[in-house]
């Protein structure tokens, strides 16, 4: 079946099997390899892209469902074409060490972009819950959460402090915050 999908602002089209997953359209048909596939069960979120502006798991969307729609991957963010992580989210992931092996990163970044787009009052708890659809096995999420807060224009130290103070058990601040606790 013929599909026409705008990918990172560029018109693309191809004759695809109806069963083709959008993740494979992006990776194999268009040849953009940042988007990864990490599971079979819509669990890990490594394949997250924006579809008409909403974060979706591209392993659970058929290419034919995305016909005449618009996809954004990490390669479509500001600066990416020049190899410079200049989008607020990618810049913050860089500065805050929000990635290690990098496999979850393209999906995590796109989820973060969507999360920030949808909520301008993010705090640590909301960021953690907002990323519940993306698994990372390397970072323990600590620095990912910081990066998303930074990208949302929040002070991550203050946000972590606020989360800590919301719980009387946390008697000392002591979060790792840049200079080491």
């Amino acid at each position: 079946m013929k599909v026409e999908i705008t990918v990172n602002g560029e018109a693309t089209s191809a004759d695809v099997e109806p069963r083709q997953l959008l993740a494979h359209y992006v990776r194999d048909t268009v040849g953009l390899k940042a988007t990864n596939i990490g599971c079979d069960t819509t669990s890990c979120g490594a394949c997250t892209v924006l579809l008409d502006g909403e974060a979706v798991k591209s392993c659970t969307v058929l290419s034919v469902q995305a016909d005449q729609q618009s996809v954004t991957t990490m390669e479509g963010l500001d600066g990416a074409a020049d190899g410079r992580p200049e989008h607020p989210v990618t810049a913050a992931f860089h500065a805050e060490h929000g990635l290690q092996c990098g496999f979850c990163t393209p999906g995590m970044v796109m989820s973060a972009v969507s999360l920030i787009n949808h909520d301008d009052e993010l705090d640590e708890r909301k960021v953690r819950e907002g990323l519940e659809g993306n698994l990372c096995r390397c970072t323990g999420y600590h620095n990912i959460v910081r990066a998303v807060l930074v990208a949302a224009g929040k002070d991550p130290d203050a946000a972590q402090q606020a989360e800590a103070e919301s719980d009387a058990l946390r008697t000392a601040p002591g979060f790792s915050r840049g200079e080491g606790a």
Partner: protein
Amino acid sequence: MSILGTRVVRTEDPVFLTRGATYTDDLTDERLTGALHLTLVRSPLAHAEITSIDTSAALESPGVVAVVTGADLDIAPALLFPGANKAMTRQFLASDRVRFVGEPVAAVLTEEFYQGEDAAELVDVEYEPLTAVIDPLEAVRDETLLFPEAGTNTAAAYGHGTEPDPSWFDGCEAVVTQDIVNQRLAAAPLETRAASAFWEGDRVTIYLSNQNAQGGRDEIAGWLGLDKDKVRVVLPDVGGGFGAKIGSDPEFALVAWLARRQGRPVRWNESRSENMTGMVQGRAQRQTVTIGGTREGRVTHYRLDVVQDLGAYPRLGTALPVFTRMMAPGTYDIENVESRARAVVTNTTSVAAYRGAGRPEATAAIERAMDLFAAEIGKDPAEVRRLNVVAPDKFPFQTKGGAEYDSGEYAKALDLALTEAGYERLRAEQKARRERGDVRQLGIGVSSYVEITGGGAYAENASVEVHDDGSVTVLTGTSPHGQGHATAWAMLASDQLGVPLEKVTVKHGDTDLVPQGGGTMGSRSLQTGGVAVHQASAELIDLAKQRAADLLEASVDDLELDPANAAITVKGVPGAKSVTLAELAAAEPLKVDTTWDGEKPTFPFGAHVCVVEVDTESGKVTVERIVAVDDAGPILNPLLCEGQRHGGIAQGIAQALLEEVLFDEEGQPLTGTFADYGIPSAAELPSFDLVEMTTPTPINPMGYKGIGEAGTIGSTPATQSAVIDALSHLGITHIDMPLTPLRVWEAIHSAAEGSK
């Protein structure tokens, strides 16, 4: 000011955050053009004889080029771990018997990736089911044998030369014993296994997702009967490993073999569902601890018995008990320590390394034992630990486990963690909640740990070359899969050479570029490969001085590096003549190859405190806080070091609370997808509270120890202990991991039933 110890952001990240890293399945190497796609037909049964395989229908499926079975292979079955029982070999495609769900029985090669699964479903394999042995304690009894020709299910035994002496604990005032499950875990790197191969003449190039190119090359060459120089292994970016990507898997050799047979490149990238049964798993120990000592709290005797579940074919799991036994006494100065271990095969996925590999199991056992002992004598668990840790003036300390601890201040680490957590206040809060009878009870778990890093492979090589444009190339035998070596090794070279970071390129993971290397595992990289880079860079400056001496008409002793200009100049003479490293390199190649051999492992240590709330009505546990003191000596890059600790802590909490690989009685996986296997998301974890402490090792000139696994080793017992601590007033002294809501509620429920 030195760049060492500063928070340098990663040089690899701009690519990772724009076009993305290049993993094995992303490769667009033109020599892979037209590659066939491999899909493996895997056994649906845990233990069975194969009676027939009919490939005819699959061969008719669209796009199928070949269907290969074990009968077509000329690769001899291999013993995948040299130290195991020699009869326990694995076929590269099972042709007579399958021993775990997921074992490959046929290989389907198709033109397109999507055609593979369709065709694989059409391969008709007939099986005659055999009794499956899933429980390692049942496997020990040898009633059903996986390898009848071996005559036993035991692949290796350690310390079983003498029988336990029943009177050993007779002099102790208090003795506690406990059976403990250290459950099986899936490493679950986000990138599953992948390989691709092409031949050029009689030489094969294999791309792998792996932690050690050189080790993988050696194994593949051995299995395929090739000279090592006929095999080139290249590791592109690797999407996490955590120990499960150490060594070659049989599938990798199969990919190379199939590429030769078909005369075409072959690509393979497994699905997550395949990965959850096909990739090696970790931990999987059954332990019995017995601990004895005085009522004052001095521990004098400790015995550890281990049954290591190896899964179907012995792999690196066979060696896990060696580390578990060595680290058995943990941070404690215990006069009498003994341990025994038996490693047995079962009809499950093979077991190998997972973050910590043998040491978390040792730590979990001794830390549980310490808690049980403290409870038995009615003392505070932190106080009992403080009473028993090795004193700082005793280092180097020869333990009764057989290790020589290099350096440590265990009581200091413990006190730092307790102070940061506000231990006294937490205990007061706990008491108040108990008195009020709150539904949400508070638990405080304390762990003191020491582990071994760089164990087994103490030497590593490095090559540093300055080019005539002033740029630098570093070659290393270590092999990153997320740790940030490109940044860290560049910092080490930059520090010695005075060359800016952005001019340093770090290369690794290609056996043509780096023929020898130990890879990245066991938290070894910095103390071996990192120190080698430091040493090579220092040696390169010595070489540069020798070359510069004539040019500058000065003696070598009067020369020094001008770090601002990456030049050699005369000491203490402002405006003296100088020559840059680049100029020297233009005259003659300026390169040093070196090997650093620390000759010993190092022993990082620390203490963690975990605070949990337990909903006593539902059994749900919430981690409120974790405080981690992790001392691995001086820190090269705090950003990277903290990242390692964060990730380790998360995996430790995950073992304590969420994750467990389960099989049913027939050996069918119950946790075969990410929907079933409980990897935590950000929503299940708090931010982590890290406390710094620095005790150098005397083993290497930088004082560096390893940090990759420490977080996991410390946080697991602290978290488990915290949950049990929250329920101790109910008479609960032990709950096995993972402490799921179901398991916690069952413990509360039976404690309530018991007290009626």
